[in-house]
Symmetry: C2
Amino acid sequence: MEPNFSISEENYIKSVYHLQQQEGTVSTNALAQHLKTAPASITDMLKKLHAKRIVHYKPYKGFTLSKEGIRVALNVIRKHRLWEFFLVDTLRFSWEEVHEVAEQLEHINSIKLIDKLDAFLNYPRFDPHGDPIPDSNGKISAGNHLKLSKLPVNKPAVVISVASQSAELLEFLKNCNIKIGTRMEIKKRLGFDNSVEIKIKNRPLINVSEQLANAVNVKPV
Amino acid sequence: MEPNFSISEENYIKSVYHLQQQEGTVSTNALAQHLKTAPASITDMLKKLHAKRIVHYKPYKGFTLSKEGIRVALNVIRKHRLWEFFLVDTLRFSWEEVHEVAEQLEHINSIKLIDKLDAFLNYPRFDPHGDPIPDSNGKISAGNHLKLSKLPVNKPAVVISVASQSAELLEFLKNCNIKIGTRMEIKKRLGFDNSVEIKIKNRPLINVSEQLANAVNVKPV
DNA sequence: TAAAAAAGTTAGGTTTGTCTAAAAATTATT
DNA sequence: AATAATTTTTAGACAAACCTAACTTTTTTA
């Protein structure tokens, strides 16, 4: 009943999920870049996943996940984010260190384990990066997130998540002492490069690039 | 510096370790049976591990782990037992359920993770089956264990570990309500089959086979 | 100690997941 | 619309871990 997927298959499925969130449909090249593999490998694997009815796939046309594919993806993401929460909350890892380890832990296969972990952690709804943790049915809490880049000027908000796993970005945020819960507001929007100037209490203005402002999610307060 | 081993390699190394504890040297067939693979697969892998200087190996002669092999084995065992402890102690798994999941978790590769887990669990020295957990240097606490089969008559002792992972055995012990910490003594030794009759307070005598008595470790009190 | 049995190894194949290089299809450009 | 550029797929290989079947070595036993 419960079909199993290899670690590779799970990683492909997860990547397709993330990419189709951003782009709607996923191309061979985009996926190859995301997974750091040769495009030929993508074609091979995607054919296999198509045969297993995990992706919709027409040669040369790109792919999207089937219902079942989404279910599988959300389950892997659930595991990844629960483990991240565990690592930070229980084992006191710091924010930037957890991703790599969670990449391994997300492939541990035991429904009982993950449900017990969920209960032990008291059913957290967001991971340490602020991303929502799907529940055991694949439901994800909405959360009124908003990209920092979209926050109106002078509207106070707190950082609720970081949408990227880039170590460099996480490092940069750490240096700025910006973390989950940090309160800030936008003072000015620079039209020529779409960067924003943000103000955090007791600190000088910081200029933040469009890319960075896109990766930081905030919630107005 | 820190060479990595595949999950398969780790499993072979771990099995060689366990078998050589019992038998001194390990044969192809014994290992094949233990790992549920064809003997030919053993030969293949053992040649590879020999090339990596993990086992001593002379064709047709059996094998043993090198110093480095023992180090690797103890590290895998450390991870396995720490995770078992975590599953029972933190996540409230029951005793018989943990082995399978720990078989997966033992291959997660992160020194930091395992050290932090160790600290979180407060440096336990024995796993839920009573087996010693190697520390980060591979040192294992002695523990004055004794096989139930070797316990003198009328000497009270408590169950401290179970030396087998057989689900059937664990199930049987559960049915008899024998668990870590259960106090008992041997009332009689039956010479003809080497079984023993054990007495637990408030319960009728139980006859226990030699095999079972060999698998249960106790500590005199 | 020679024949039979058992244990171990080699030879050759399969599957999974990867790769490079070449070919085909699609998209963009002039 | 024809050509160039890009994207995607196919073809053919390879390494890791397996397997079965056949062949050696070692051990047992009659």
